[in-house]
Amino acid sequence: MADGSPVAADPPSRVRRRRSGMRRLLQRRSTVGVLFCLPMIVLIGGLVLYPACYALYLAMLNRRMTQFVGLGNFAFLLQRQTFRLVIFQSCLFAVSAVLLKAFFGFILAHLMSNIPSGRQRIWRGLLLVPWVIPLALSTLGWWWLFDPSYSAFNYVLQDLGFAPIPWLGVAWPARLCMITVNVWFGTSFFMIMYLAALKSVPEQLYEAASIDGAGTFQKMFYITVPMIRNIISVTVLYSLIVTFSNFDIVRILTNGGPEDKTHVFATYAFQVGIQSGDIPLGASVSLFMFPLLAVFAYFVLRNVTRRGKEMAL
């Protein structure tokens, strides 16, 4: 392999000493690796693995938790019209919100890096505001803006002569509101991640490309994106997973309405699970996307490690 195959033939004694030292080091490498990972293993194993297994087990019980029903809960859910709506809406929100967040975050990071570093601080601070207000509280502020009886947005619309929009009272406007709040909240996160990633792309590459006559977009596609692809992947994956399980936005703004047209997995799980005393069904709803997302995550992360190994060679 790359490091470990010693020099062939008869080595002089000094090289022999170095070689055995190297081998000892390399032999220890994997144990050291495990040791470095040990805190994480202990933390995640103790506090997440056991509860997660139990949660998976819960999802396969009947209502009274006396019988194991395997995938019965999932079959039951798929027959429910409301649940099919929930699947559609959750996917709609998650995918569109993540795409928009990634897109806007990317643009913002670029705009930010165009500005001299000295001036950046205040712009960064301002753009971070949405993300740092705890979501459960900022959503209350949004609720006021969309408020059924006295929306601040409608005030402006009416001032300009338009009719007031029932923001949360009709299906599609309500869905757009959810996506908007989600994008508003999460774009800063993408911006921060991209900005940090952009900083780590060596200037020399851009300069070399400029000398070769590359334009802005070419630089972006051939230098930036490949260099920060790992960060993009991990961030998008994380955001996708987390957006799928978002609870507060829907709960506070519409509680799933109108007519269940904004329900997502987490809110539906809460209503049929915790509120209705049927924890196993709630667990099944929460874990519905698990297989799909797990497969997706596996492939994304595998590519990240692979690219990492490639780049380091």
Partner: protein, 444 residues
């Protein structure tokens, strides 16, 4: 003696932010410990009164009581309750909201003995308590006044009088007879709704999926005798009673605010307090805040029973229960504590502290003085509790379905959603078909 909502008392509500620290109250005790979760009262004075009573009990019985107050904001009390039930570990006793009790009956200790000891002193509770807390004929939890409420109409006197010609202070005066009962039915209600909508002050009745909306819709359905699921658990959606209720609802929803479908539990409060609505279905919390934030509106509010339908007058309530977990370490002390707190004297003390909001589930307690004296306007709460001459029936929206189905009817807002669908133009048959599909899913 007029106990007006003086500025100081009004400030008590406004100053809920400077709530007393919710610490473990550890009362000194030699023999044993008992821990209990209480519902964090909407006005802090209620918690203080409860704490005092807990102290008195602990003192008398030499028990150490650890009382925690959990909030309904963000469903904290429900979340923790489920975690404890799953873990089979936690407090000894817990407070259960309306539909939480039936969901956990299997995890609770029978309370027949406590109920038997209370019966000679305060009688039997109303029928909803039995519906929610009895399993196989045994009481599994004790109904309590702490947090229990009536969710009947609270209306603006001046608007109802001027726009709709209904003088609610004369219909339901602060005296032991209500002349308005005979004429107060859903037809009069509809006319009044139309009239108030015309002057831009519609009735703020929600068609969302939160509790307030389920309660008002349930009140309507029940008074037509419309049961979506009967007591045996059969779907009874396609019945004449349901059809009648829906036909009426179809006419009513036209006069409700266009955004009623996105109401949550605080929306109706806000439309009343801001003066934009003539009538809402809510306990006195909305009125009390109005007195503080918008005094002219507050002084113009009156509470009275809901309209009657062909099958009677049903008033939506929210019930609360105190139960002892099966895994509790000190069951006897917990039961004693609950028994002590359920007495009339303690219930009345807490009711006074919450400005008349607490609605005891015991018909024998429907005569507390606080409902006569609270104001302004004085007498506004006189008809808030379920008075004997009202001849109305306390109702838990979703009953008489078996509680495992009723809980979903309530929490999923099936009835207000049916009304919302009527508002959006769907036909009665479509709405019924949708409801049937929904309800099938609740039978698990």
């Amino acid at each position: 003696m007029v106990s007006k909502v003086t500025r100081r008392r009004a400030l008590k509500i406004g100053a809920a932010a400077s709530a007393l620290p919710l610490v473990h109250i550890r009362t000194a005790g030699a023999a044993g410990k008992v821990s209990i979760v209480f519902y964090d009262a909407w006005v802090p004075a209620g918690n203080i009164a409860l704490k005092k009573q807990v102290d008195a009990f602990a003192e008398k019985n030499k028990v150490e009581v650890q009382a925690d107050f959990l909030s309904t904001a963000n469903n904290q009390i429900v979340i923790t309750e489920n975690a404890e039930a799953q873990a089979k570990a936690g407090h000894d006793a817990y407070s259960f909201a309306t539909w939480e009790a039936p969901s956990h009956l299997d995890d609770l200790e029978p309370m027949d003995d406590v109920m038997a000891r209370l019966a000679p002193k305060i009688g039997q509770p109303n029928a909803t308590a039995a519906y929610l807390a009895k399993k196989d004929g045994h009481w599994m939890a004790v109904p309590t006044s702490s947090g229990a409420q009536v969710k009947g109409p609270c209306g603006r006197i001046s608007i109802l009088r001027d726009a709709a010609g209904l003088d609610v202070t004369k219909m339901f005066p602060a005296s032991p007879s209500s002349p308005g009962l005979d004429t107060w039915n859903w037809d009069t209600f509809l006319k009044a709704a139309e009239a108030c909508a015309k002057v831009g002050k519609p009735f703020g009745i929600g068609l969302g999926t939160t509790g307030d909306s389920s309660d008002s819709a349930g009140c309507l359905f029940a008074s037509f005798g419309a049961e979506l699921v009967n007591a045996k658990g059969d779907l009874t959606v396609r019945t004449d009673a349901v059809r009648q209720a829906l036909e009426y609802a179809q006419r009513l929803v036209k006069f409700l605010p266009s955004n009623a479908v996105s109401y949550d539990d605080a929306s109706n409060n806000r439309v009343l307090i801001s003066g934009q609505s003539a009538l809402i279905f809510n306990p006195p919390s909305a009125w009390a805040v109005a007195v503080h934030d918008n005094p002219p509106v507050g002084a113009d509010c009156w509470h009275f029973p809901p309209p009657a339908g062909p099958k009677g007058r049903f008033v939506p309530i929210a019930a609360y229960f105190w139960g002892v977990w099966k895994f509790a370490k000190n069951k006897s002390a917990a039961k004693d504590l609950i028994e002590y707190l359920s007495q009339r004297e303690q219930s009345e003390e807490r009711c006074n502290a919450t400005m008349g909001y607490d609605m005891p589930p015991w018909p024998s307690m429907m005569d507390f003085k606080v409902w006569e004296t609270e104001g302004p306007p004085q007498g506004t709460l006189y008809n808030y509790p379920i008075r004997p001459w009202h001849k109305d029936v306390p109702l838990v929206s979703g009953s008489p379905a078996p509680p495992s189905i009723g809980v979903e009817i309530y929490n999923r807002g099936t009835m207000p959603t049916m009304m919302a669908k009527l508002l959006s133009g769907q036909s009665i048959n479509d709405v019924m078909a949708w409801a049937e599909n929904e309800l099938e899913g609740f039978k698990r």
